[in-house]
């Protein structure tokens, strides 16, 4: 590589992504003795995890002593409509408390109980008060703690570096290729094990709570490298995003607002959750609350800006400012609303991808040797719907496991080298974005993609809309090879950045739309207007996505991965639900 003048680095373990799961994986890999590198698109500490507000679900039992891993496991399975990978839900429930305590030993500071232990708050779908939190900025606290731990853990960090290709040698992933955003200089990495911690793909929708970076890079890179993905049709629309003003539409309003006692009402002043889930009310699971708000608006009971009212003005104003400080600021600054005095207007916003790279629960390894995935980039843990608070637990539990898994693979591996032809191929793609003959503007294509997904693959779906969306995505397939950045300059070129991201988002959109068409039922976050009920068949099957290109994408129903020793817990929960 060096003879071609391309900057090159070699690691035992290379992590892509600097959100919670990437940082936790890097720490674990470095602790296991691996020479570890970490590549991130943004600056360190800016990843989408900073947006997490509500908390980290861990059955510490500090507030509710009767809580334990088995209830957390059951809640997660129920929330996921039993499509979860059972082993992942088990590991998560069992290990989250240790990961929370560990974080505290690394300097994280969380709110306390009167007994001076970590406090825990109520959240949708959790039987007990379970979410460790600090105000409404729990994600920031975690990212800062992990960020500091990482930079003091002998991990080399490459900030503002974009990876455009994974590089394989035979069947095995041996590294990756990309460029430094600040200069446009090309860069390659060889690694004995590579961990995708690239998060989700919310930017395929216009209305999203996701950061700019969430463009499904890991899903697309893994797919192209031959990995399997699971259940991509399950996209979580968080029930409460801001709906006004237009510039901030989609911006997250934390579930902690409801956890702390916020009430949802429609334009007629009715507390409408009574009609949809009288038992759990505002703290029903996210899929139910999102659909309820959507239905209220659609049936003409929406607020002036097309949402529902979310009200905390009955709570003590100082309490609101202490427990929900960033929500208070956010509404005051951006919408001119004082939430201690008047209700917020909220509506569903694309928030999280339950699907992702199919991995071994214990080690995070994908079907492709040398390729690991963790956090939102991996799939299975959350089934058809994720409970709030389970993402921050997920990224710690499985970040650590993927880091250790990757380090174990690396430690057992000899040196790897990048095949020159694969590198040349990757280089040619970037050259094409800059100097090719194409004339497709990535900014425009991104907008088109968002419209297709919003119109046809949103919160409610049907065969007609999905088929139409897939047809339009296929039209984009034909044009995607002509993507070219409007400017060919190298330094901090936003068009260049978006070219590969649009390609990734298109691949991800295909997975979602095709999975949604195949799954002829409504379950969790996936709601079909033409198949409104549960299907017994689909209740036992995940959809595995694999292929080489968007044209050759195969989707295969595959039985849910169960475990005998957990059968009793799952059955007990199903019985209890039936009884109530």
């Amino acid at each position: 590589m060096s003879e071609q003048g391309i900057e090159h680095h070699d690691y035992d373990v290379l992590i892509l992504g600097s959100g919670g799961s990437g940082l936790r994986a890097a720490i674990a890999a470095a602790e296991a003795g691996a020479r570890t590198g970490l590549v991130c698109k943004s600056l360190l500490g800016k990843a989408h995890t900073v947006m997490a507000e509500g908390g980290l679900a861990a059955s510490l039992g500090n507030v509710a002593p009767e809580d334990g891993w088995s209830t957390h496991f059951q809640d997660t399975m129920f929330g996921g409509k039993y499509l979860n990978n059972w082993r992942m839900a088990e590991l998560h429930a069992k290990e989250a408390p240790d990961r929370a305590r560990e974080l505290e030993h690394w300097g994280a500071v969380f709110d306390r109980t009167p007994e001076r232990t970590m406090s825990q708050r109520a959240f949708g779908g959790h039987t007990y008060k379970r979410l460790v939190h600090i105000g409404d900025r729990t994600g920031l606290e975690m990212i800062r703690t992990l960020h500091d731990r990482t930079v003091h853990s002998n991990v080399e960090v490459f900030m503002e570096t974009t990876v455009t290709r994974l590089i394989k040698d035979g069947d095995r992933v041996v590294g990756c290729f990309g460029y430094r955003r600040q200069t446009g200089e090309l860069i390659s990495f060889s690694a004995k094990a590579l961990v995708l911690a690239t998060g989700g793909s919310g930017r395929i929708y216009k209305i999203t709570s996701n950061s700019q970076d969430c463009t499904g890079d890991g899903y697309a890179l893994a797919y192209e490298a031959g990995a399997q993905l699971v259940d991509m049709e399950f996209v979580q629309f968080h029930p409460t995003g801001m709906v006004y003003p237009p510039g901030v539409a989609g911006l997250l309003v934390t579930e902690a607002v409801r956890g702390e006692g916020g009430i949802l009402r429609n334009a007629n002043g009715e507390r409408f959750m009574e009609r949809y889930d009288p038992k759990r009310m505002e703290l029903s699971t996210r899929d139910v609350v999102a659909r309820s708000i959507y239905t209220e608006v659609k049936e003409g009971r929406g607020t002036p800006h097309g949402g529902a009212y979310l009200d905390v003005s009955h709570l003590d104003s100082d309490y609101v400012k202490r427990k929900l400080p960033s929500m208070y600021d956010q509404f005051l600054e951006l919408a001119g609303v004082d939430i201690t005095k008047e209700p917020m207007q909220v509506g569903p916003t694309c928030h999280y991808f339950m699907g992702g790279v199919k991995v071994d629960p214990d080690t995070g390894v994908s079907r492709v040797p040398g390729l690991f995935a963790t956090g939102e980039a991996s799939g299975g843990m959350n089934g058809a719907n994720r409970l709030g608070g389970n993402s921050l637990g997920d990224l710690l539990v499985f970040g650590r496991r993927a880091g250790e898994g990757a380090a174990a693979t690396a430690n057992a591996s000899g040196p790897v080298t990048l095949p020159p032809e694969a590198v040349a191929d990757a280089q040619a793609e970037i050259e094409g974005f800059l100097h090719g003959s194409g004339n497709e503007n990535p900014f425009h294509m991104h907008r088109e993609l968002q419209k297709i997904m919003g119109d046809g693959v949103g919160i409610f779906r049907d065969e007609e809309g999905l088929s139409e969306a897939i047809g339009k995505l296929e039209e984009l397939d034909a044009r995607v090879a002509n993507l070219r950045a409007p400017s060919d300059r190298l330094d901090y070129n936003p068009g260049l950045q978006l070219c590969r991201e649009v390609k990734n988002m298109l691949t991800v959109s295909h997975m979602i739309a095709r999975g949604a068409l195949l799954r002829e039922e409504s379950r969790g976050a996936h709601s079909r207007l033409d198949h409104t009920g549960y299907s017994d068949y689909w209740g036992e099957h995940n959809i595995i996505v694999e292929g080489t290109s968007t044209q050759e994408m195969s989707l295969t129903p595959t039985p849910v991965v169960k475990r005998d020793e957990l059968e009793a817990l799952v059955e007990a929960r199903k019985e209890a639900e039936k009884a109530s």
Binding site: L60, N62, G107, D213, P245, V248, Y492
Partner: protein, 277 residues
């Protein structure tokens, strides 16, 4: 509610003057665009990027005032572009958007803030004291026992989103360019939060005073004024630490007794690397 949005500043065309250029040369370039209600500066800049200036360099990520990426000088004052509404800025004049000045320019609105990361790496991280008292400081499950009051105190500084705007306006850094002698308000605050942790076992006094250069701060409170999180950087972080440095370094009685009120806290290993800009 929406109705309270000031109709005097209703949507319409607005002019933005955006700094375009690199280290060698640059100028303010004027753009005009149609606005919509509640639009923030970042919306306007991205719309200009999308439709008029596709090579305009701007760093942003969350667009929710949580990641601290999109810091810039708007009408001469450091602000998060994603949190600054157009209709809160004077309607009768163009809005100027310029990069932060305390850091080297990369291009247009993007600056090289890597110096901050080098400083952060110099700060000894949280390290729990070697022997924590069972039942008082740590419980049987290994969980820390901490008062909510301590949490609240630390929490103010831990709200920092690292937008580096406090660094941008700090005279020591912006005007005197003493990046190799002063860590800046962001990292004074960082050390304050570590110092206030009741179970931390590191004595950072020398680092705060020597490598950190806290003595250089002359308490003009510019950092506090621009903090988007409303952190009282000067009053609650810098001044108490300055007082502690004075007390412990210059108190004749303590000197005489050869003791520090910090006993039990370990000195960090010496750090010799000086982060230069």
């Amino acid at each position: 509610m929406s109705e309270t949005i000031d109709l005097a500043h209703a949507p319409g065309p607005r002019k933005l003057q955006i700094w375009r250029g690199d280290l060698t040369s640059g100028e303010l370039v004027e753009y005009e665009l149609e606005t919509e209600p509640g639009m923030v500066v970042l919306d306007a800049v991205l719309e200009i990027q999308r439709s008029q200036a596709p090579d305009l360099a701007v760093r942003w990520n969350c667009k929710a005032a949580k990641c601290g990426s999109c810091s810039a000088e708007v009408n001469g004052r450091p602000r998060l572009m994603c949190k600054t509404r157009l209709d809160h800025l004077p309607a009768d004049e163009p809005i100027t958007v310029e990069p932060m000045r305390a850091f080297p320019l990369i291009r247009d609105l993007v600056t090289d803030v890597s110096w901050n990361y080098r400083v952060n790496k110099q700060i000894t991280p949280f390290t729990p004291r070697e022997s924590l008292k069972p039942g008082v400081e740590v419980n049987e499950k290994g969980e820390f026992l901490i008062d909510q009051a301590d949490t609240d105190r630390m929490s103010e500084f831990r709200k920092c989103i690292e937008c580096f705007m406090c660094q941008d306006v700090c005279h020591i850094l912006r005007d005197h360019r003493l990046h190799d002698r002063y860590y800046g308000p962001r990292f004074m605050m960082r050390m304050a939060s570590l110092d206030m942790h009741p179970l931390d076992g590191v004595d950072r006094l020398d680092q705060i005073a020597d490598e950190g250069g806290i003595g250089l701060c002359n308490i003009t409170k510019c950092c506090t004024e621009v903090c988007p999180e409303g952190i009282h950087i000067t009053d609650n972080a810098i001044i108490p630490m300055k007082e502690r440095v004075v007390d412990q370094r210059h108190d004749p009685l303590l000197k005489l007794l050869h003791r520090t009120p910090n006993k039990g806290r370990r000195k960090p290993p010496p750090r010799t690397e000086t982060p230069t800009l």
